[in-house]
């Protein structure tokens, strides 16, 4: 039965091909006559294109074609943005720049040649004349009058202003007993850095007038729709395949100009065209994450009750919108109250254009920023009032329960924040740690203990709250031989759903797990879909699969009941059989399958075949939560931070496969800790990307992490039939404030209230040099 497989630690079906080098990522696919594409990119943050001379490139060995923005004008559409908001400015975003470049790395020309090296050689021969224009890379400067304009036609650099307001601010502001704490917090720009860069093959068949695209994408179906629109083709004639995808983290939840150009080139030339992104291109031209300045005001009673929070968000959107760019900071606003019962809220979000690459969804996508704001704020309250951070949190948690309505307009499904916090305090030995801290401080050693109790918004749906559909499709097809094919519109790329979805279906149908195979990613095979992002694949896609399996069961039960002369409601699926509840009558699973296909003795009204599609539309988001503790040591001489321990208790609802959940949490933690301590994309004032290679961008390596101690609680959600909430982003969302709270805690002896990420030694060293001796206020 279902319970037997669900919840078990089962090894992944995906792994045999991956560990033997037999899987196929985009670059592993070769087609007959395939051509290779290389891009010429802007070396400047802002410049006018005065001339592009492609003559030398066209004459270079192996070159088949060279395209510029002018060549594409009117023939290839613009890079799409799916977000709709009141007053949102959406500048035209051509696949190749026309007239002006607005960020370093913007594609200017495309060269197609018979070989990869030849395409790169010829790209270097394209001569581009640039007239430098003043660039703007600071959001605050971009909003000043007289600032250089990223898009002159828009009149200013303000893309949108959005406000959320709730509660009774008049009485809050009139209450003199309230403490008001203000803090500016910077959430720095990051690179998603999937180890597989982006890549695409477009293959147009002139005879059939069909376009097949292999792309390293999280959203094959959405990509198909948009590539059809871009190329002005009938969507029926387009097919997108996401083959093996080597990591994404939101960066492949997009429609990129390069994909459009590859399709255009293939249609022009009638041959397959491949483009594989280089790592430097990836750093400059694949979407970035975060990049906010958040000014926070917290209103607290002397007993620690937080009554109000105001937040002024500046979100750096970069030069153009990508697919979800302006939607990301709005998620910050929605989640800024975290897991607290705060009655009054005011959030103003300004989206700002600058001469940088677009920001968009990067693991967590707006929610790590929210969690960082509120979790740092709770520590600031604790500090101001001389309370333990645990007590401030406990004081402000809502009582465990369901349907918790917040003034931000969200509605938490189920919550038990006390439980995860208590569990992590026990797991970490919190009170012992506090004693150790006092002991070490007396010796001049700096130990920090940082807490984060987070809640995230996940399982992206319902459709009413999403820019491009929040449902997911699932198909279960029992083949005539009795083997089961599962098709999911979610397009997993490392999360392991080929395994967990097989667990769901095998459990429901009472058949061996090995008899179930899950396919995804091919729009010609999977009828419809949205994709994998926002911790939605299992909660939404898995639920679709679950319901499709119920439809199969209903049909099979009717056929079996007819045969066994019992009622359909009495049929039980177990051990490869359909049987009566008492087991006295039974028939083999395969026998009913055969009957469904041979269709000789079907009950009246039952169609032949066994294939069911279900499209699941969730009634609400899910709200996973957890509590983390980070223990850091600071080198009092150099300011270097070392993370000594990390404890994480996460509640992602029901757990289908604990091994996969652990993997998701670990990966998320590494990315959040990476942001807190090391990672940062830096542009200079001219819009030059200073961290454009892996030499400069501090991707964390194995020795930089301690052993993660993880545990779970399971608070099921009523939002879907599986009770799962999602876990893909939990680690990233929970961890940055835990780290910063830990380091600020260690540095509190020096009067430090706040340090911005990443917590580089020099930022800490400054305080060590200027502050008081650590022993002084130790007692």
């Amino acid at each position: 039965m279902a319970a037997k497989l669900l919840g078990e630690r089962i090894k992944r079906k995906e792994d045999p091909r991956l560990i033997q080098g037999r899987a196929h990522y985009v670059d592993d696919i070769k087609l007959v006559g395939m051509l290779h594409l290389a891009f010429v990119r802007s070396p400047y943050g802002h410049a006018r294109l005065t001339a592009i001379n492609t003559g030398a490139a066209r004459n270079a060995p192996g070159v088949v074609a060279v395209f510029t923005g002018e060549d594409l004008k009117g023939r290839l559409g613009f890079v799409p943005c799916a977000v709709e908001m009141d007053g949102l400015k959406i500048p035209e975003h051509p696949c190749l720049a026309i007239g002006e470049v607005r960020y370093v790395g913007e594609p200017v020309a495309a060269v197609v040649a018979t070989g990869r090296y030849l395409a790169a050689d010829a790209a270097a021969l394209v001569e581009v004349d640039y007239d430098m224009l003043p660039a703007v890379t600071s959001m605050e400067q971009a909003l000043e009058k007289g600032s250089p304009l990223v898009h002159e036609s828009l009149g200013d650099n303000l893309a949108f202003v959005a406000k959320i307001e709730g509660g009774d601010w008049k009485s809050v502001e009139a209450d003199p007993s309230l403490k008001v704490i203000r803090q500016r917090m910077i959430n720095q720009r990051l690179g998603p850095m999937a180890i597989e860069t982006r890549g695409v093959i477009a293959s147009y068949s002139p005879g059939e007038d069909t376009l097949t695209v292999w792309s390293s994408t999280q959203i094959p179906h959405l990509l198909k729709t948009h590539l059809a629109i871009l190329n002005k083709m009938d969507e029926s004639r387009c097919r997108v395949i996401a083959p093996e995808v080597g990591g994404a983290f939101g960066s492949k939840l997009n429609v990129y100009g390069e994909e459009g150009v590859a399709c255009f080139a293939s249609r022009q030339l009638g041959k397959p065209v491949k483009w594989i992104e280089g790592r430097r291109e990836n750093l400059a031209g694949t979407i970035h994450g975060r990049d906010q300045i958040d000014d926070v005001e917290i209103y607290a009673k002397p007993d620690g009750t937080v009554v109000g929070l105001k937040c002024f968000i500046l979100a750096d959107l970069g030069a153009y919108h990508q697919f979800l760019t302006p939607g990301i900071p709005t998620l910050t606003a929605m989640m800024v109250l975290g897991c607290y019962n705060i009655k009054n809220v005011f959030v103003e979000t300004k989206g700002v254009f600058t001469n940088k690459m677009a920001t968009d969804a990067y693991r967590g996508a707006g929610r790590p920023e929210a969690t960082y704001i509120i979790e740092r704020a709770m520590d600031l309250v604790a500090r101001e009032l001389g309370m333990d951070p645990v007590d401030v949190r406990m004081k402000n948690f809502p009582a465990p329960g369901k349907d918790i309505v917040l003034p931000t307009g969200v509605n938490y499904d189920t919550a038990n924040y006390q439980k995860t916090l208590k569990k992590v305090l026990k797991l970490s030995g919190y009170s012992k740690l506090r004693k150790e801290q006092v002991r070490l401080r007396k010796k001049g050693k700096l130990l920090g203990i940082g807490l984060s109790t987070y809640v995230e918004i996940c399982a992206m749906g319902p459709s009413s709250r999403m820019p491009a559909g929040g449902w997911e499709s699932g198909t279960v097809r029992v083949e005539p031989t009795g083997k089961v094919t599962v098709l999911t519109g979610a397009s997993p790329h490392g999360q392991g759903e080929e395994t967990s979805f097989a667990q769901i279906v095998a459990g429901e149908l009472g058949i061996p797990y090995d008899d179930v195979t899950v396919f995804h990613g091919d729009t010609a095979q999977v009828p419809m879909g949205i994709g994998t992002f926002g911790s939605r694949a299992t909660a939404v896609g898995g639920s679709a699969i679950y319901y499709a399996a119920q439809r199969i069961k209903k049909k099979m039960a009717r056929i079996a009941a007819h045969k066994l002369e019992i009622k359909p409601g009495e049929v039980v699926f177990a051990d490869g059989k359909l049987q009566s509840k008492d087991g006295s009558k039974s028939v083999a699973f395969t026998e009913i399958v055969t009957e469904a296909y041979y269709a000789r003795q079907l009950p009246p009204g039952v169609e032949p075949g066994l294939s069911e599609l279900y499209v699941f539309e969730p009634p609400n988001f899910t709200y996973p939560f957890g509590a983390h503790v980070a223990v850091t040591e600071i080198d009092a001489q150099t300011g270097e931070v070392s993370l000594r321990n990390y404890f994480a208790v996460d509640d992602c609802g029901r757990i289908l496969n604990p091994m996969l959940v652990d993997g998701q949490v670990h990966g998320g933690l590494a990315q959040g800790i990476g942001q807190a301590l090391w990672e940062e994309l830096i542009y200079d004032e001219n819009g030059q990307l200073l961290t454009g290679t892996l030499m400069d961008y501090a991707m964390p390596r194995a020795r930089q992490f301690p052993w993660f101690e993880t545990a779970n609680t399971e608070t099921r959600t009523p939002v879907n039939p599986l009770g799962v909430k999602g876990v893909g982003e939990a680690g990233t969302i929970g961890s940055t404030p835990a780290l910063v709270n830990s380091v600020v805690d260690a540095m509190s002896a020096f009067g430090v209230r706040h340090i911005d990420m990443p917590l580089k030694p020099e930022k800490i060293w400054v305080h060590l040099k200027q502050g008081a001796m650590p022993g002084r206020d130790a007692a």
Binding site: I19, Q20, Y25, D28, Y117, I195, D662
Partner: protein, 154 residues
Amino acid sequence: MKIGIKINGKWHENDVEPRLLLVHYLRDVASLTGTHIGCESSLCGACTVLLNGDAVKSCTVLAVQADGAEVTTIEGLARDGNLHPLQQGFWEEHGLQCGFCTPGMIMSACQLLARNPHPSRGEIREGIEGNLCRCTGYQHIVKAVEWAAEHSGK
């Protein structure tokens, strides 16, 4: 230039451009696409192979430099249909998610275990220092290598 390279026990002879990278030779000429390219600058380690027994990043070795050498790639690890202990360890311990860094990670771990058959967790982390993974947070990779160390030579 004419070169000959023994890859996974099989001799390959080809005429190649002097500038051809070993990784492109493996992938495009020898059609062994298990070795991946993540950065083309020897920083991510996805392209790691064994060159005469040493782990090297094949994106910064020219194919001509490997003339006459023996190269082992991920495709050469399983023997007689049996997974190498490291491959098995990665499967058992969930040492991979998207799988893109995995072949390079396993080849680096091969060198580590050849030099130090029973490494500590710290030594494993040092041993895979040259390989980046963005999915796993490395902990399950450490467990995978431990699993392989425990099950090697049995």
